[in-house]
Amino acid sequence: MTPEILLALLAATVQAGTPILYATLGEILTEKGGILNLGVEGMMLVGALIGFLTALHTGSPVLAFVAGGLGGACMAALHGIVCIWFMGNQVVSGLALTIFGTGLAGFFGTPYIGRTAPGFDKFSLPLLGDIPVLGTIFFQQDALVYFSFLIPPLLWAFFRYTRWGMAIRAAGECPAATRAAGLNVLAYRWGALLGGGVLVGFGGSYLSLAYTHLWTNGLTSGRGWIAVALVIFAFWKPSRAMIGAYLFGGIMAFQLRLQAMGTALPSSILLMLPYILTIAALAFSSWRSERTHAPAALGVNMEPSE
């Protein structure tokens, strides 16, 4: 493997990881508040479609990206209505949301297949893009990739230093005590859920606005599920989410390049790599780590007070 191919591979890694990164960060935010949302795949699809449609009709990629995020949030709101208001089972609601979102996007998206919409193109960031190696990998991407760099540190700071962030964590760890402390647990859970929905929607619209500039049914092809898995892999930490998303995207991009260079390995075996290595990485880091990192009240609905 020549250095040029290696550099291209690493740059592709960042791009392939970005949609998964957005979605993983969104799900981390949601789950930190104690809500398990398995509907990521459906939310991403709806976000991707709404983003694409907005770009097609307004011609503004930025507006489209925002709209995609809001689409994700609307889907998250459905989950909230069922799980927070009506205290439905979060696992089923999430799966139902995936089915619903896939259907919704397919139903309304079909007429727009075969169209192409304006989106984000790659450009080199001034100065940063000229750094050898690192610049090529990280700073010759599109605007949405640069934006995704900002979110993990922001999210980290949000959980650590802001009142809202700490309250969301408390709502996810011990809702009863949080309520006893006079905080409105449900409001914080709603906030985390909707905020997470926006990020997941961003992930979807990254696929239809930057990764490609088109819409087809099933555009996400299982990336939402990978995001759900990577949340656990990341131990609910935004920084580790970055590692996980790039690792996954990178192995995917790597196996394609291995094929392109002319390997003798069967493609089924190569395609297994990302999944097996994710398991291996998870097993290794869980074995090293002493505790489970999941928010204690994850997936548990809040009983109404008397």
Binding site: Y211, T212, L214, N217, S221, L256, Q259, S267
Partner: protein, 352 residues
């Protein structure tokens, strides 16, 4: 509301209860993916519309039918509901369709891309490889690096045949050209397919061809400023600067012909493998970057293929290891083409 619905109510009732009262010939289609896959099923559905336009024919379809138990049920229910002709468009439908065909001898079944037939079940396919050969010629003429990338879905004979024909076409104009294959194991995942195309560009390819349903690879070529060859339909809208041409399906005439024959009572079960002569496969209009002399030689070859004067798989053809598989002057038989399971010399890639 009720008044508007009542006739439809009755209609549905008729459709359910009766088998043969309707005078119209009822034609059903079974698709493996949503019609909105922008590719394979979409092309078949365009063909369905041509059937719909015939007099005295109504059509309907069921999309996204998995090839397991679902397909047998869907085909069976079509037959039960009184459909006279049923088209199933994916190879996995072959055995289920054969089962149902035995139970309903009066219904005509047509199965695409398989190899089994019976009294009332024909199988059919198009010789898209002829179009592939022509697009290969264009790609071979346009490449400077002499390495062409081919993003491919699954290692099945249909795809392998296409890659081989494409390679032979490219070699016809550019003898030492190399075709590199990447398998994505997906029919339509635009992002992965685009990534696969980029991986080929990274190793020095400067033309990208595809056997995928999404235009993802086309976008990759456009972004990198290289050329691309599309598939299924004219994909030039996605890559105006890159799109040289495309191997395209045109099912309409074939479907219309079959249904018309069935209506007239002249149809009989057979293996219909139509090609360029019947217009079932074609190439999309050339992009303006294709030089006139290349266009001319490709169109000349197209005429030769259509008239039957030239066969794509004419020997000598060697396999990847250099062993001669088809002797000079010999033409590969249809049976061998149908089960193509080796790559010709010049293809870099695995068969799994």
């Amino acid at each position: 509301m009720m008044r508007k619905c009542l006739p439809l109510f009755l209609l549905a009732f008729l459709a359910l209860g009766s088998t043969c009262f309707a005078k119209d010939l009822k034609v059903g289609f079974v698709y493996v993916s949503p019609v909105g896959d922008a590719g394979y099923s979409y092309a078949h559905d365009q063909g369905r519309l041509a059937v719909e336009a015939l007099d005295g024919v109504t059509t309907s379809f069921v999309e996204s039918v998995a090839e397991g138990q679902d397909s047998e049920r869907v085909i069976l229910n079509m037959a039960r509901k009184g459909f006279d002709v049923i088209f199933a468009t994916s190879y996995g439908y072959m055995d289920p369709m054969l089962k149902v065909a035995k139970e309903f001898p009066q219904v005509k079944f047509l199965h695409c891309s398989g190899y089994k037939n019976s009294e009332n079940m024909a199988n059919y396919f198009g010789r898209i490889y002829q179009a592939r050969y022509l697009t290969g010629m264009v790609a071979g003429a346009m490449t400077k690096s002499k390495i062409i990338g081919y993003v491919a879905a699954f290692p099945i004979p249909e795809v392998i045949r296409g890659i081989n024909a494409f390679t032979l076409g490219a070699q016809a104009v550019n003898p030492d050209v190399q075709v590199r294959v990447v398998w994505t194991k997906t029919w339509y995942d635009p992002a992965t397919e685009k990534e696969a195309a980029k991986s080929l560009l990274d190793v020095g390819c400067d033309v990208i061809a595809q056997h995928q349903d999404s235009p993802g690879p086309q976008e990759a070529a456009q972004e990198r400023g290289v050329y691309s060859v599309g598939y299924n339909t004219d994909m030039s809208a996605f890559a105006p600067k890159a799109h040289l041409t495309a191997a395209i399906w045109n099912w309409g005439p074939f479907y219309a012909e079959m249904v018309q024959q069935i209506k007239d009572g002249t149809w009989k079960s057979d293996f219909y493998w139509y090609g360029m002569d019947k217009g079932i496969v074609d190439i999309a209009p050339f992009g303006e970057m294709v030089p006139a002399e290349v266009q001319k030689s490709v169109l000349d070859k197209k005429a030769e293929i259509a008239s039957g004067a030239y066969q794509v798989f004419t020997g000598p053809i060697k396999d990847q290891a250099g062993a001669e598989k088809v002797a000079a002057g010999a033409v590969m038989a249809d049976g061998d083409l149908l089960g193509f399971n080796w790559f010709v010399q010049g293809v870099v890639g695995t068969l799994e």
